[in-house]
C-alpha cells in the first residue's frame, strides 16, 4: 500500500487541534461550549462520578482522548477549572 491509512486518532486530531486554535484566538463561542462540556465530562469520568461507556456521543472520541491523557487536566481534577492554558495543553497533547 502506497499510503498509510489514517487511524481514528489521526483523523480526529487535526480537526480538534484546529478548533482549539480557534477557541484560543477567541473565534467561536459555540465550539468553546462543546469543548468545555467534553472536558467536564472527562473530569467526571476521571473522578469516578460517571462511567466511561456513558460518554456523550457528540464528543465521544475527544472525551476519551482526554481521559487517556488525564495528566493534561491538572493533578487535582476535583479543583479543576478551564483556562486558556487548558486548551493550549490539550492542543499540544493532540500534536504529540
Amino acid at each position: 500500500m502506497y499510503l498509510t491509512k489514517l487511524d481514528n486518532n489521526q483523523t480526529f486530531t487535526s480537526i480538534y487541534r484546529s478548533l482549539l486554535t480557534e477557541i484560543i484566538a477567541g473565534n467561536n463561542d459555540s465550539v468553546k461550549d462543546e469543548i468545555d462540556q467534553a472536558i467536564y465530562e472527562a473530569i467526571s469520568v476521571i473522578l469516578g462520578e460517571k462511567e466511561a461507556y456513558l460518554i456523550d456521543n457528540k464528543h465521544f472520541y475527544f472525551t476519551n482522548f482526554l481521559i487517556s491523557h488525564k495528566d493534561i487536566l491538572d493533578s487535582d481534577p476535583s479543583n479543576f477549572s478551564i483556562t486558556k492554558e487548558t486548551y493550549k495543553d490539550i492542543a499540544l497533547a493532540l500534536n504529540a
Binding site: S18, N28, N57
Partner: protein, 353 residues
C-alpha cells in the same frame, strides 16, 4: 505542504461529474453543496488566506469532498439497485432519524469488496462543520453512508444480504457501540493485541446481529457459502462462531454478547431485537414463479431469507428440472419484483391517503 494538487484533482472530478443524473434530489443537492464548499476553499487557498497550521484540516476536508464525489458517482440512475437501497434505508430509520443521511454505494471490481467506509461518523462530521463555520464557509448539510459492494454482485439479492451487515458497522461506528462495550468491560482498555482483537471481533458480531434482526440467518447462509477456511483472524472471529451467535440470537437464547450490546444500547435508547416477520417459505409464491405479496416492512426484510431458503431447497418440485442458472436468475428477478411492488404500493397508498 500545499493544497494545489488536490484542488486541481477535485476540480477535474467535479467537471466530469457535472453531467451526472442522480437517483434523487438529495444527492443532487449534496453535489451542489460540496461544490460550494470546495469553491470557497479554493478561493481562500488562492488568496493565501490559509495558514500553515490550518493546512492539514483543509486537506482533510478536501479529501472528504473527493471521497463523497466518488461515492456520488456510483449513485447515479441505473447504477445502484433502488430495491436494496430502499430496504436498507428502512432499517436505517429504525436507528437514526436523520433525513440528511444518504446511503451511497461504491461499486468495486473486487469480488470480495463488501465493506463500510468508517469515516466520518457524526462527531467528525459535526466538527468539520464547526470548523467551516469558524471560517465563514457554508456547512455541509448531507452526510453519506459509504458502502462498497462488488460490481459483479450489485443485482444479486442473495449476496446483497451482506449490505445489512455493512449497515450494522455504520450504526456501530455512529454510536460507538462496540467501543462502549469495551469501555464497560475493560475500563482502562489498554490497546493490547488481545484486546484489539476482541474489539475487532465485537464489531463483527454487532454487524452480524444487526443484520440478523432484519433478515434472520440469511447473512449466515451467504457467509457459509463464501467460507473457504473456518479460521480466526485478528479482524474476524471464526465463521462457525459467528454463525452460532446469530443462530442463538434468532432462537431468542440468552447470550452474553447480546446482553452486553443491549446494556449499552439501552443507555442510547436502542435495542437489538428481532425485527422481521417470519413467513413459511414452503408456501412461497416464488414456487409458482410469481412475486411475494409483502404486507409490511418486517415481511419485506424477510424476503431475503425466503430467497435463500428457496435457493437452498433442492427437493421442492417447482424448480426441479430447471437449470440452476435459470433458477438463480428467476430468484433474483422474483426478489427484485417483490420488493419493487411493495414500495410501489406503499407509495401509492401514501399518496391516496
Amino acid at each position: 505542504m500545499s493544497l494545489n494538487l488536490l484542488i486541481n484533482q477535485i476540480e477535474e472530478q467535479f467537471s466530469s461529474s457535472r453531467s451526472n443524473v442522480y437517483s434523487d434530489k438529495k444527492r443532487e443537492k449534496h453535489f451542489l453543496n460540496i461544490y460550494e464548499v470546495f469553491s470557497t476553499i479554493k478561493e481562500l487557498s488562492k488568496s493565501g488566506s490559509i495558514s500553515i497550521p490550518e493546512l492539514p484540516t483543509f486537506k482533510q476536508i478536501l479529501q472528504y469532498i473527493i471521497s463523497d464525489l466518488q461515492y456520488l458517482d456510483s449513485s447515479t440512475l441505473n447504477v445502484i439497485p433502488f430495491e436494496i437501497v430502499s430496504c436498507l434505508e428502512l432499517a436505517l430509520k429504525d436507528w437514526i432519524d436523520d433525513d440528511n443521511l444518504i446511503l451511497s454505494t461504491h461499486l468495486s471490481n473486487d469480488y470480495n469488496d463488501f465493506y463500510f467506509l468508517p469515516n466520518p461518523n457524526r462527531e467528525y462530521f459535526n466538527k468539520i462543520n464547526s470548523f467551516l463555520s469558524t471560517k465563514s464557509i457554508i456547512k455541509i448539510s448531507y452526510r453519506l453512508i459509504k458502502i462498497s459492494l462488488p460490481k459483479l454482485l450489485c443485482r444479486d439479492y442473495l449476496s446483497t444480504v451482506a449490505l445489512y451487515h455493512e449497515l450494522g458497522h455504520f450504526i456501530d461506528f455512529e454510536y460507538n457501540i462496540s467501543n462502549r462495550v469495551m469501555l464497560k468491560k475493560h475500563p482502562s482498555f489498554p490497546p493490547t493485541p488481545a484486546l484489539v482483537q476482541k474489539f475487532n471481533h465485537l464489531q463483527e458480531y454487532f454487524a452480524d446481529l444487526f443484520a440478523a434482526q432484519y433478515i434472520s440467518d440469511a447473512s449466515n447462509q451467504y457467509l457459509e457459502d463464501r467460507m473457504i477456511a473456518d479460521i480466526v483472524s485478528d479482524s474476524h472471529p471464526k465463521t462457525s462462531e459467528r454463525i452460532g451467535v446469530v443462530a442463538k440470537f434468532i432462537n431468542n437464547e440468552n447470550l452474553e454478547i447480546v446482553n452486553d450490546f443491549n446494556e449499552v444500547l439501552t443507555s442510547l435508547g436502542k435495542q437489538l431485537k428481532i425485527r422481521f416477520e417470519e413467513k413459511d417459505s414452503n408456501t412461497s409464491n416464488f414456487y409458482n414463479f410469481i412475486p411475494e405479496v409483502i404486507e409490511n416492512d418486517e415481511q419485506l426484510h424477510y424476503i431475503y431469507k425466503t430467497g435463500w431458503s428457496i435457493w437452498k431447497n433442492t427437493v421442492n418440485p417447482s424448480f426441479l428440472g430447471i437449470p440452476e442458472r435459470q433458477k438463480y436468475q428467476m430468484l433474483n428477478n422474483l426478489i427484485e419484483k417483490s420488493i419493487s411492488s411493495y414500495f410501489l404500493l406503499k407509495n401509492w397508498n401514501n399518496i391516496t391517503k
